[in-house]
């Protein structure tokens, strides 16, 4: 039923709330629409009724099929009127009603008449309406007019036809592609927007023909484009061409760079910005190329227009991630933006400054940020906190002022997510910077004194239990912890009891005092708290029998459950009560890879509350679950790595297939993700036939076909290979998709019974050395390197031959090894003659690997590289060298 829109409960006479649509009702308006059938049409009245109908639709009202049809038929009568205003409204409402195919026929002739009318407005609008509602068959009838319209001398008509062409290209590409001569002519039009629309359409027609796009760009960049919007398009096409040609031309200047640079002097701001952004996004952009773009962006920073400032600071923020030095010139302008009215701009400015700042500017910056923090929203604060966290890891010496900052803001008002971000940051700093540990722990203690979030309190208590006993003076934490037992809810009290017990277990001198405290908890009102206290008193030997804490007690208190909780949960759910008791050893132990924890804190598990930053993406979990659920793969052991999906088909083909490589110790599973993009087809029994003749060490062991693949709902099929255990076997695989195809009746959606077997060639797939390496970062490379020790170090030198520049050589080696660059060393300052790059990773078999690469380049661009590898296993160190030597 219709809603009384804009109806106010209070005074109707209030002039400000007056609305001509007050109390409007769908039923009544539909009644009113009968005037469309009047013999003598009243254009004004009809216009008003249409406006009301549009108002209802705009407010989210829906018409039933019958209502819509009725309105539509009534509206078609209005073509009799020659009132231009009314006709415009008729066009709009026809588009809004989106009539069905059998209804369209009713208006086709009227619209076709308008399309050939002398009135420009009729022609333009009729084209837009007709193209919106038409289907392929009708299109061939009107194609002749559309081609004419594209080169119409009235720009509105030409634009209407061109824009309609862009839309139609999605549904009827073969027809639109026949118009390219006319479109090409329109590109030369003097009217700015016609040029823009023509260029957009022409490019879309040719987008799959790389050569044609190249030709288009090189002819237009010589300067015949007048419209700023068209110029923006041209810049986008140009950077696409540059991107695609970059791999082919290793030498010489970057093509079209001069064009982009020239656009920086265009008179329209949108063009200047588009060009500047395009330059900053060039692959491997040099600082010489960047400079002019940074300069114009810097000018934008001090613009009076917020949009320009935002655009510039957002772009510079991105540049600062890869080329922090290039952005430092803008630091002064950036600092004045901290007080910008627009908080999005201010936040972007701050986070940019945090990325570009050096060790000396940290203190000053922190002072400025403190005043800024109080008046921005939580979501912005979280962004700032994250930036500060990475800054602190970059400059460990500055931990004092950064930790102070965090402890100050944690006391201020804020929501859960914000507080959690701060707590996570402090925890990570404690973990990675030993000097920050004691002050950080005290800040956390003070925080839980007045913390309204149970989750955070319990997490911090847990963390205190692990870290506190290892500090120089553990007793000073006891007070904070015991206070919780008095003042908090049951969940926190229970957490505090466990923490107290951990102190008692680890620090023998504290034991008697802890026992006193724990005994008091025996009278708690909550049974969980009482139970825990009783349990700990007994295990720790409060009866005086044991003085030293036994190993097994420690294991009980501190040992992590070496079973993933999800697995345990699943097993418990499956367990059926019977004679046989539940055996915890039967729970699968496939755990996800723990990130590399520094050795300097032996045995310490990463305890970041929100998970450590370089943790594995959660997709790994999803993959693992998926694979575990397939019995054929259940005995492959622990999943080591899943690659990112690799596309095996071109875009816009009948079947879209990509593959994910799952690496196990002695097996490799290819997961083919298939999507059927043809509505009229149902695929059944889909398999991928893999030819592994170029991958000698692999032998196919299992294949899991996909039973059915309906239109547009992706499905997976798997093929598994056996390979020598622990060996990084590589090879090439060619793939063929095989399936039974059945026709589907589009109206009913039912498939025919009989199908035809068919095949579809996919692209080749390669397993490379990098697939056996997990990208796992370390936050302090030097510490990790030192603690790994030189026992298994292997050093050798390599000539990499002539290269364009160092950056390219560095990238090539990083990609070859598939390791995680540390401390931003993957960025090579331009024109430098030497560079050191630090990489870390985990090699198959869970062997941590650290790599130090030193590059040098000489006059004729010959690059030499010294490769030093440290790992836990010298065989692995050798393998890394072999990979480089053979790559």
């Amino acid at each position: 039923m219709a809603q009384p829109f804009l109806k106010k409960d209070d005074d109707h006479d209030d002039e400000a709330d007056y609305s001509p649509f007050l109390g409007i009702e769908k039923g009544a308006v539909l009644q009113e629409a009968r005037v469309f059938n009047d013999h003598q049409l009243d254009p004004r009245r009809c216009s008003q009724v249409i406006t009301k109908l549009l108002y209802l639709l705009n407010q989210g009202e829906t018409f039933t099929k019958v209502e819509a049809t009725e309105v539509f038929f009534a509206v078609t009568k209005l073509f009799q009127s020659r009132d231009l205003g009314l006709r415009r409204m008729v066009y709009v409402i026809i588009k809004e009603l989106s009539p069905s195919a059998d209804e369209v026929i009713i208006v086709t002739s009227s619209l076709m008449k308008d399309m050939t009318s002398k009135t420009d407005m009729y022609r333009a609008n009729a084209i837009r309406v007709l193209c919106r509602i038409t289907d392929g068959t009708l299109l061939t009838q009107i194609e002749r007019y559309l081609k004419q319209a594209i080169v119409d001398k009235n720009p509105v008509v030409a634009s209407a036809a061109l824009v309609s062409g862009i839309h139609l290209l999605q549904t009827n590409p073969e027809i639109v592609k026949r118009w390219s001569n006319e479109v090409q002519e329109a590109v030369q039009s003097r009217a700015a927007l016609v040029q823009f629309h023509a260029l957009a359409l022409l490019h879309q027609i040719r987008q799959n023909d790389r050569l044609a796009v190249n030709k288009l760009v090189s002819s237009l960049t010589k300067g015949s484009v007048r419209s700023p919007l068209a110029q923006c398009l041209l810049i986008r096409y140009t950077s696409q061409v540059i991107r695609e040609s970059a791999s082919n031309t290793q030498t010489g200047d970057r093509p079209f760079y001069d064009f982009l640079e020239g656009c920086l002097r265009h008179k329209a701001e949108m063009v200047i910005f588009e060009a500047a952004r395009a330059i900053t996004e060039l692959n491997g952009v040099t600082s010489r190329e960047l400079t002019p773009a940074i300069t114009v962006l810097q000018l934008f920073l001090s613009s009076t227009k917020p949009v320009l400032r935002f655009a510039a600071v957002r772009t510079l923020n991105k540049v600062a991630m890869t080329h922090p030095i290039a952005v430092t010139n803008c630091n002064i302008d950036m600092e004045s933006l901290i007080s910008d009215q627009n908080r999005s701009i201010a936040t972007l400015a701050i986070t940019t400054l945090l990325k570009t700042g050096n060790e000396f500017s940290v203190d000053r910056l922190m002072k400025q940020i403190t005043t800024f923090m109080s008046d921005i929203a939580d979501e912005f604060k979280i962004v700032v906190i994250e930036a500060i966290r990475s800054l602190c890891l970059k400059f460990p010496l500055k931990h004092r002022s950064l930790m102070n900052f965090l402890s100050n803001i944690i006391r201020e008002e804020g929501g859960f997510e914000y507080k959690k971000a701060i707590v996570d940051s402090i925890v990570i700093l404690i973990r990675d910077i030993p000097e920050a540990k004691e002050s950080g722990l005290l800040h956390l203690c003070e925080f839980i004194e007045d913390c309204e979030f149970t989750y955070l309190s319990t997490q911090i208590l847990h963390f205190l239990g692990i870290e506190g006993p290892k500090t120089s003076d553990p007793s000073k934490y006891i007070r904070y912890i015991y206070n919780r037992v008095h003042l908090e809810n049951a969940t926190v009290r229970a957490g505090a009891v466990s923490t107290l017990a951990k102190f008692g277990a680890m620090v023998d001198s504290l034991k008697p005092r802890i026992f006193v405290l724990l005994r008091r908890c025996l009278f708690d009102t909550d049974d969980e708290v009482r139970d825990r206290a009783t349990l700990y008193l007994n295990t720790l030997g409060a009866d005086g029998a044991v003085v030293e804490t036994g190993e097994d007690v420690k294991e009980f208190l501190f040992g992590s459950l070496d079973i993933p909780l999800v697995n345990l949960e699943r097993s418990l759910k499956n367990y059926e009560p019977s004679e046989e008791s539940f055996d915890i050893n039967s729970v699968p132990k496939e755990v996800k890879i723990q990130p590399l924890a520094e050795k300097k804190a032996p045995g310490k598990k990463p305890t970041g509350l929100g998970g450590p930053p370089p943790g594995p993406p959660s997709t790994i979990d999803a993959y693992e679950k998926l694979l575990l659920s397939i019995p054929e793969f259940a005995n492959f052991g622990k999943l080591f790595k899943s690659s990112a999906p690799v596309e095996l088909t071109e875009a816009e083909t009948e079947y879209a297939v990509n593959v994910v490589k799952h690496i196990f110790d002695g097996h490799v599973v290819f997961q083919y993700n298939c999507t059927n993009t043809i509505p009229e087809q149902l695929l059944e029994n889909v398999t991928v036939i893999v030819d592994a003749s170029e991958a000698e060490e692999f032998a196919e062991v299992a294949s899991k076909p996909l039973r059915s693949l309906p239109y547009d709902s992706p499905g997976q099929t798997f093929v598994a290979f056996e390979k020598p255990e622990g060996v990084p076997a590589v090879g090439k695989f060619s793939n063929m998709l095989r399936f039974i195809v059945k026709e589907v009746d589009p109206s009913t959606g039912e498939a025919e019974d009989d199908g035809v077997e068919d095949e579809y060639q996919l692209e080749e797939l390669e397993v490379v050395a990098a697939d056996y390496m997990l990208k796992v970062g370390v936050s302090n490379f030097r510490n990790a390197w030192e603690s790994m020790g030189p026992d298994c170090e292997r050093v050798d030198e390599y000539g990499l031959g002539p290269r364009e520049n160092l950056a390219e050589a560095v990238n090539a080696v990083i990609n070859l090894l598939g390791m995680q660059p540390c401390e931003g060393t993957e960025v090579v300052p331009s024109n430098s003659r030497s560079h050191t790059c630090l990489l870390s990773g985990v090699y198959i078999g869970n062997v941590k690997v650290l790599v130090r690469l030193q590059f040098g380049i000489d006059g004729p661009k010959d690059v030499a590289m010294k490769l030093a590898v440290r790992s836990e296993d010298e065989a692995v160190s050798d393998v890394i060298h072999e990979i480089v030597a053979s790559g």
């Binding site: 649509f21 254009p43 837009r128 701001e269 949108m270 910005f273």
Partner: protein
């Protein structure tokens, strides 16, 4: 990759965040409730800012929103997160100024609702299916305001019908009140 600048939606809301006229060009918001949720969020995020002299801008759920307010009217244009902000601002300015021209300077909610037909036509002339049609306010307003008769109609008929229409309009307006 989409290379042509695309507009996701254009919104005209009142000072309480309610719809005057909105137009969505993207499937990102498939249902009316999704649209309303977006409008509500955008409005909440921007209402405290001062966007009366210059267009303002914000990032929001991976959309870039540019906006400008006048009286009790709030104008918004939304684009994808990688869209050129200045192009979006040009569309907003075109819409904003065209509405100003069409409402003859009295730009407020009451006037906008009374001339909703002009506003809807205005939206229709600025963007077609996400693709920018025109950003020059004078051209947009010119296209919308050409409320003359079909050139084919006889002159006498024009004047009489127009006169009648104006009279009736006065009548209906007062009746509607």
């Amino acid at each position: 990759m989409e290379l042509c600048p695309l507009i996701k939606n254009i919104l005209l809301l009142d000072s309480e965040g309610k719809r005057i006229a909105v137009k969505y060009y993207s499937d990102d918001w498939p249902t009316n409730s999704a649209k309303e949720a977006f409008e509500k969020a955008v409005f909440a995020k921007t209402q405290k800012t001062n966007a009366r002299t210059d267009a303002e801008i914000t990032m929001f759920d991976n959309y870039v929103v540019v906006y400008k307010f006048v009286q009790d009217l709030h104008f918004f244009v939304t684009g994808g997160e990688n869209e050129n902000e200045i192009i979006l601002a040009a569309v907003l300015q075109g819409f904003f100024d065209a509405v100003g021209l069409l409402l003859r300077g009295t730009v407020d909610k009451k006037e906008a609702l009374e001339n909703l037909d002009l506003i809807l036509l205005c939206l229709d002339e600025i963007v077609d299916g996400g693709i920018i049609l025109e950003t020059d306010a004078n051209v947009i307003a010119g296209k919308v305001a050409s409320h003359s008769m079909d050139a084919g109609a006889p002159l006498s008929e024009q004047t009489i019908t127009q006169a009648l229409a104006t009279a009736r309009e006065h009548l209906t307006r007062s009746l509607l009140k």
